[in-house]
């Protein structure tokens, strides 16, 4: 049994970690937070140039042609560094949509640009308050023109290309929309994590090109979101580990009552529980990575499992990291809130925790009902 990443994959992870430690220290994240931008352009360009963005995109489409396990370890490092770049929107979603459902022409047109970072992609499906379901999608396409409003759309303000879920003849399909083209209005909206931009996209007769079979939009979205959930779980696992380390380091340094606060059981046990959450989430994320890389029939269960567990862990670790820091944890100057913000951003990106809990139970049930269930 080898339920682990290979030595080469671990080397790649180490490279990514060193690169991000150098190019994406907390000061870079903070600059985005305070600077009125919604991403770090230089970091994005370098991630493209070094092949991190194109890791799982085949070489024939301008990628590096490694695989999804490689993308998982890169994702973990991006999460650890809470990198302020649109990798999830552009790579885990837009590129994966193209790979899953794009025509040859569509793949050739967009994947090389997504791999290099020249084009930023995103996925626009939700339309306001509440859980997104197939029935909640109102945006409509007629005669190749899209009209409707999508909100919130991660990275919608900086993206050039959007995969949009919309209805045509009553059925939900997916469309490629050039966000720099006519009929598109975008507005950046304030959010709990300004280091990952959110926007409202309004379409009025915007040209839209069908992606994948007509009427299959919700199924495709669901499949690609499963894949993205696993990659995002690695970001959450990386973030959990870093928040735990921050809390541990502070508990070792900070003195109170004549002792390091890390010698008090109340603090030790809080950190131990963070370690437990982070460990469970990591193991579940590995299960997701295995399913993703092998195309296992268990992928839907594994994705929901990885997602629910990783969301729990990152929220748990980031909130208790602030608690370990006490009052200092609530200052703007300390980095704790950057992780707290990101954990709560990721908990909602791709759908709420309760949505994924529901999916997990549905899928466990289907697996139990399947005659060939292992």
């Amino acid at each position: 049994m080898n339920f682990d990443f290979s030595d080469e994959q671990k080397q790649l992870q180490d490279q990514a970690r060193r690169f991000l430690a150098d190019k994406c220290p907390p000061s870079v994240v903070r600059a985005v937070l305070e600077g009125g931008q919604t991403y770090d352009r230089d970091l994005w360009v370098e991630l493209g140039e070094l092949g991190f963005l194109g890791a799982a995109i085949p070489e024939e489409y301008g990628g590096v042609g490694l695989g999804h396990l490689e993308l998982c370890v890169i994702a973990e490092e991006l999460g650890r560094a809470i990198a302020p770049v649109p990798v999830s929107s552009s790579i885990y979603l837009a590129a994966e949509f193209l790979l899953a459902a794009g025509s040859e022409d569509q793949k050739r047109a967009w994947l090389p640009k997504l791999a290099s970072g020249e084009t930023i992609g995103t996925f626009a499906y939700g339309e306001g308050l509440g859980r997104v379901t197939e029935g909640s999608i109102k945006a409509a396409v007629a005669g190749g023109k899209l009209s409707g409003t999508k909100s919130p759309v991660p990275d919608g303000d900086i993206a050039d290309l959007a995969v949009v879920a919309a209805r045509e003849s009553g059925k939900v399909s997916l469309y490629l929309v050039d966000l720099t083209g006519p009929g598109v209005t975008r507005e950046t909206v304030e959010s709990i994590d300004p280091t990952r931009g959110q926007s409202v996209l309004t379409f009025k007769d915007a040209p839209a090109e069908l992606l994948g079979p007509a009427g299959e939009g919700w199924r495709l979205a669901s499949e690609v979101m499963d894949r993205a959930a696993i990659l995002l779980a690695f970001e959450q696992v990386g973030g959990s580990d870093r928040a735990l380390e921050m809390g541990r380091d502070y508990a070792l340094d900070r003195m109170a009552f004549g002792r390091p606060i890390g010698s008090f059981q109340a603090v030790k046990h809080m950190l131990a529980d963070m370690y437990v959450s982070a460990t469970l989430a990591r193991s579940n994320a590995y299960y997701g990575a295995w399913a993703l890389s092998t195309g296992s029939a268990e992928l839907p269960v594994a994705a929901a499992t990885a997602r629910v567990s990783a969301t729990q862990a990152f929220q748990h670790c980031s909130k208790n990291n602030i608690q370990v820091h006490g009052g200092m944890g609530f200052t703007w100057a300390f980095d704790c809130h950057l992780y707290y913000r990101r954990s709560n951003n990721l908990a909602l990106t791709l759908g709420s925790q309760s949505t994924w809990e529901d999916l997990l139970i549905d899928r466990l049930r289907q697996r139990n009902d399947a005659p060939a269930a292992a």
Binding site: M1, N2, F3, D4, F5, S6, L69, L244, R248, A251, L252, R259, P260, G262, S263, Q265, V267, K268, H269, L271, A272, D273, Y275, V276, T279, L280, A281, R282, S283, N284, Y286, Y287, A289, W290, S293, T294, A304, T305, V308, S309, Q312, S354, W356, E357, D358, L360, I361, L364, R365, N368
Partner: protein, 418 residues
């Protein structure tokens, strides 16, 4: 990343599977599958008789105590082979419950500290299940603070070199069935508590040993109190030097933590199955959104433990020592099962309070979990001790300040109210 066996592992698995197929007591399979959570649950046969029979059969074919050297009745197998055997043995592994302490803890301690003649005499019958062993460590005054133990061993006054033991042990699993035990005693109360301890092995039929099963909070009796009244044993039964007992006990406890891949149960599959079949006024319980949310929370814990175990097995497969992540198993499983049991009863409404196996839902298994699970959170290291271990050994946080560390044992206060 895969779950596949290496060719060597696959070959080993095939041999193990074939032998188990041909030799396992298949007539017990159904009953073992229905087994309880604290024991093998056998009712139609004497569990001790069938456990010993299976162990003997395994020993004769070289499948007993896989991790022990051959000369002491083991197989000299690698850690990963031991895991594979456990997977293949499946439900029949429950028949080994009686021997876990002997094989996992007492045996390795004897192996590390006894002389060769003693090892040759004691270990093979332990491996083959002819003898059952217990570990006499915890005391009323020494649980989490094991080194606070008070059972005294003093040299006999007749110059024989024998030791006379007086005191009381508690929470001794399986003492009522045991032929032998290892016992940790205090031989010098004038030294600080960790320094005045000495370990011995003994025959449980030695005069002066009185085993009394404890009636547990759940009504069962798996643990015992063991009283020692002027128990005389020869110095040749000492394990390690006089005053070295703490180091010797660490050998035992380290072996306790090495048992990997066994997978602590959480009760999740049972609860999921229950919710799939429970009809409420609004339909099946599993269709209720609040139920689904709770189930999902338990599901990711059960899954997280399973795949944490897989990571540990992978490390073994590569010949590495598994990382510290394995220390979370009991901590997560115990608390999860307790919470889950309470939730299962809640789903049953007022009828959840029934524990009569003919009346209660699911054969009262959730009521049994409810009543047993407090013990899981205490035995073999309390939740709090496990969190300390994670905090100190994994995260590198400082140990607690120990006010009794350099004090003579006899001068340590024994009452919290002066």
């Amino acid at each position: 990343m895969n779950f596949d066996d290496t060719p060597e592992e696959a070959a080993f698995r095939a041999v193990a599977r074939a032998w188990i197929d041909a030799n396992a007591p298949k007539e017990l399979e159904a009953e073992l599958k229905q087994g309880g959570f604290a024991n093998n649950g056998l009712k139609s046969v004497d569990p001790i008789v069938v456990s010993k029979a299976w162990q003997k059969k395994k020993a004769e074919a070289g499948w007993a105590c896989l991790h022990w050297p051959k000369e002491y009745g083991g197989r000299g197998a690698t850690p990963i082979e031991r895991v594979i055997w456990g997977q293949e043995e499946g439900v029949y592994g429950a028949l080994s419950g009686l021997f876990i302490i002997g094989h996992g803890m007492c045996g390795p301690t004897v192996m590390a500290w006894a002389d060769e003649e003693t090892k040759q005499r004691l270990l093979p019958p332990l491996a083959s299940g002819e003898h059952i062993w217990c570990q006499l460590f915890s005391e009323p005054a020494g649980g989490s603070d094991l080194a606070g133990l008070r059972t005294a061993a003093v040299p006999a006054t007749d110059g024989s070199g024998d030791w006379i033991i007086n005191g009381q042990k508690i929470w001794t699993s399986g003492a009522q069935h045991s032929d032998y035990g290892i016992v940790i005693t205090r031989t010098d109360p004038t030294l600080p508590k960790h320094k005045g301890l000495t370990m011995f092995w003994l025959d449980m039929k030695t005069p002066g040993i009185d085993v009394r099963p404890i009636k547990q909070a759940n009504g069962q009796s798996g643990f015992n109190e063991v009283y020692f009244t002027d128990v005389r044993i020869p110095d040749s039964q000492r394990l390690g030097a006089v005053g070295q007992g703490w180091s010797v006990s660490l050998t035992t406890l380290m072996n306790e933590r090495l048992s990997i891949g066994s997978g602590m149960p959480t009760g999740f599959p049972e609860l999921f199955d229950f919710c799939m079949n429970l009809r409420t006024e609004d339909g099946l319980a599993i269709d209720d959104r609040s139920v689904r949310s709770r189930l999902a929370g338990y599901a990711v814990k059960a899954s997280g433990l399973k795949y944490t175990g897989m990571r540990a097995i992978s490390a073994l497969s590569k010949g590495e020592t598994p990382g510290p992540e394995n220390s979370i198993g009991k901590l997560v499983a115990g608390a999860t099962m307790q919470e889950l049991a309470m939730y299962a009863l809640d789903l049953q409404g007022q009828a959840g309070l029934l524990s009569d196996t003919t009346q209660a839902a699911a054969g009262a298994r959730f009521q049994q979990m409810l009543l047993r699970s407090p013990a899981t959170r205490v035995e073999g290291g309390t939740d709090e001790i496990l969190r300390n271990i994670i905090a100190e050994r994994v995260l590198g946080l400082p140990g607690d300040i120990r006010v009794d560390k350099d004090v003579a044992f006899k001068d340590i206060p024994t009452s919290g109210r002066g």
